[in-house]
């Protein structure tokens, strides 16, 4: 019963919220889609919180994505024990880096009076969810090791069963408690995503790399609307 609630209902509700609210917000409230940087108000601690956090989280997310998209490659890579250990240690190090950044960021938000002013309730909820998620992730990496292999073998098929609208609970039913909590919290964050500042993730500035250097915009169609005498 709880399995259905947490591993079928929750993921679908979260994903619907993610796309529905996310797209609506992007279209109807474009002004609110921003990274809400606070670097302007405080610079030094900003470096030690945001840089390790982002690099850590991006690294960890890429590893999760690899497990989801290319599970066979992951398993093949892990066939040699040395490579498995390298991957596990890398993942754990990235997770610790993210935790270091996140804790710094929370301390910064408490300590600096200027930053406190621009921190609202949704920021604190988000920080709490992130903290729980990263701590759970690190605990999983320590107590339920070799995740790069079992993720590809059990979590990936379950996630694909979700995405193909044919949820198969048998993969998750037997998972350890820590992993289950990690999954539940992950979907809570996905559902919460479009209501928070996390929305900035969807506007990573890729066109910058190939657009023209200068941007010129015209208010009128010059050639067509020129006044002729």
């Amino acid at each position: 019963m709880y399995d259905i609630l947490f591993f079928v209902a929750l993921p679908y509700v979260a994903l619907v919220l993610f796309f529905l609210v996310g797209i609506t917000r992007y279209r109807r409230r474009p002004f609110s889609v921003t990274s809400l940087s606070s670097q302007f108000l405080e610079n030094r601690k900003h470096f030690w919180s945001t840089v390790p956090f982002h690099y850590g989280v991006i690294g960890v997310l890429l590893l999760h994505l690899a497990g989801l998209m290319i599970p066979d490659t992951m398993l093949a890579w892990n066939a040699a024990p040395v490579r498995l250990v390298v991957l596990e240690v890398t993942g754990l190090a990235l997770g610790l880096m993210a935790l270091f950044g996140l804790v710094n960021s929370m301390i910064r938000r408490v300590q600096s009076p200027r930053i406190r002013i621009i921190t609202n309730k949704s920021d604190w909820v988000l920080l709490a969810l992130l903290l729980i998620q990263i701590v759970l992730g690190i605990l999983v990496a320590i107590y339920n090791g070799w995740g790069s292999s079992w993720f590809a073998a059990s979590a990936t098929p379950w996630l694909w069963s979700l995405f193909t609208l044919n949820p198969d609970l048998s993969y998750v039913a037997g998972m350890p408690l820590l992993v289950k909590l990690h999954i539940i919290n992950a979907f809570l964050m996905i559902g919460f995503f479009p209501f928070t500042r996390l929305i900035h993730v969807i506007v990573i500035p890729n066109p910058y790399l190939w657009r023209k250097t200068q941007v010129v915009r015209w208010n009128r169609d010059r050639k067509r609307l020129r006044i002729r005498d």
Binding site: F31, L36, R114
Partner: protein
């Protein structure tokens, strides 16, 4: 030739009295909102001085503007290759402390304080946190050389001067200073636009005004360090960048920007110039000592039939061309060679020009103060109270020649007018001075007229913006009737 029109400003520094009316006019209209309290889209600095934000001219620290690397023009701060690793934390981003923490006073204490032996005072409180603060500095703390040991002596432009010249500038009772009003230069090669990862900053095609699309800005804050003039500001409340909009709603209704309109000394002129957009990159990357002359090459003669033909072919309306022909900026910069760009070495091709200021007549020679007798000002330009090297650092990328030219011509005009009105300079001397300063009697009269007599209509030749032809008007204005109304304004709320 890709002819475009650019609204271009000219500030006649010799007339600036440093009253800050321009800054206040701007502040009251545009930056009195939450998150913008610290912003001064227009500000007036005392030179020598460190300015606002502190030492903004020091690009070793702020990394503003462009540099030529292996023959290629590159942003000093975050070009394409550098933005990816630096997107989370911009290494050259100025913080609020580089500007100042805005404050107000707790006036309620004057009414609520309990009865006592002392008069109650209104203590300063931060406009960011609302807590009591100890005010250490403000946007104009060094006005009129106040605290010059802390501020004026740290002016980055002084670094190029010899110790003797520096000494000369700070001799007590013989100090010289001038005011430098600053605003967005609406550059032809804007570093802020080039740095924006989201493409939110853009240059308006019709008049070249540089704007930030508030709906597209994602707060990556690359524009703030990229602008060498530090004229893009980060709104800490909305998490977006904001900058001078050249009062475009006023320009579109044929009114000059508020800072221009309110200028007490009437130092401000505004008019459009035609330029060749196809040469921007080439000219922005040229050797440093050619930057001023090359930028002048970029500006086209609006009376040249060939230019007019090309402008028409490029869709520039006839009245915009007419307006360019009457532009006061064109006269000062191109016809008379008096207008110089601020720090051309930043390579953004700023389109706000300055007539360099004349010095007080008391000058220094062989370490002694000398009073100029007024007849040989022309040859004493190099001994003026404000060293020409100092002016050249600000207006000539270190090159004294264009500054000397502009100062001499101003002195020659002054001598000519002294001959006409006072008569103690004889005609032959005055005319010889004019010839030497590359000026004619007619030109001297024209300079005198536009400098001293010009009224509102002559100082501001505003090109029509033709909003009646704007693309958005092709849409049905009744589309949103009884729904969200005309247009859609979103409250600036953080989520």
């Amino acid at each position: 030739m890709d002819v475009r029109s650019q609204v271009s400003m000219l500030f006649h520094m010799d007339k600036c009295i440093g009253c800050h009316t321009c800054s206040i006019a701007c502040k009251n209209i545009w930056t009195d909102r939450k998150g913008t309290e610290y912003m001064w889209w227009n500000n007036v600095e005392t030179k020598p001085g460190t300015g606002y934000p502190t030492r903004w001219e020091d690009q070793l620290n702020y990394k503003g503007g462009w540099e030529v690397v292996d023959g290629e023009l590159q942003l000093k701060s975050t070009s394409r290759s550098k933005i990816i690793p630096n997107i989370f934390h911009n290494p050259s981003m100025p913080t609020m402390d580089d500007y100042y923490e805005p404050w107000t006073y707790k006036y309620s204490d004057l009414f609520d304080a309990p009865e006592g032996d002392d008069q109650p005072t209104a203590m300063p409180i931060s406009m960011v946190t609302g807590e009591y603060i100890d005010v250490k500095a403000g946007p104009n703390w060094d006005d009129d050389l106040g605290g010059s040991q802390v501020y004026a002596e740290n002016d980055p432009n002084l670094e190029a001067l010899t110790p003797e010249l520096r000494q000369q500038m700070f001799e007590i009772e013989r100090l010289a200073f001038f005011y430098l009003p600053r605003m967005c230069n609406h550059c032809l090669n804007p570093a802020c636009v080039a740095a924006c990862p989201s493409g939110a900053l853009y240059k308006r095609g019709e008049d070249g005004i540089v704007l930030v699309n508030q709906k597209q800005c994602r707060g990556w804050r690359s524009c703030v360090p990229a602008c060498p003039y530090k004229k893009v500001y980060f709104n800490w409340s909305t998490g977006k960048s904001e900058k001078c909009i050249l009062c475009y709603p006023r320009l579109e209704t044929k009114q000059p920007p508020a800072c221009h309109h309110s200028c007490v000394g009437r130092i401000r002129y505004l008019g459009n110039v035609l330029y060749d957009a196809s040469r921007i990159e080439e000219i922005a990357g040229c050797p440093e000592n050619e930057l001023i002359s090359k930028q002048r090459e970029l500006i086209l003669d609006p009376n040249d039939p060939e230019v007019i033909e090309a402008a028409k072919a490029n869709g520039i309306p006839d009245d915009v061309i007419t307006s360019a022909q009457q532009s006061p900026t064109y006269k000062f910069v191109m016809e008379w060679g008096l207008g110089l760009p601020l720090h051309p070495e930043f390579r953004t091709l700023p389109m706000l020009f300055y007539v360099p200021p004349l010095s007080p007549v008391l000058s220094s020679r062989n370490g002694e103060a000398t009073r100029n007798n007024g007849t040989d000002l022309l040859h004493e330009v190099d001994e003026a109270r404000v060293p020409i090297q100092y002016l050249a650092e600000i207006f000539g990328a270190g090159n004294t020649e264009p500054v000397r030219y502009a100062l001499r011509k101003q002195y020659a005009v002054r001598m000519w007018r002294r001959h006409v009105t006072v008569g103690d300079v004889d005609e032959a001397t005055a005319k010889a001075a004019l010839v030497e300063a590359d000026c004619t009697v007619d030109q001297a009269e024209a300079i005198y007229r536009l400098t001293s007599l010009a009224k509102y209509e002559e100082r501001f030749i505003i090109p029509p913006t033709h909003r009646e032809q704007a693309m958005e008007l092709l849409k049905d204005p009744m589309e949103n009737k009884q729904d969200t109304g005309f247009g859609f304004i979103e409250p600036p709320i953080r989520v």
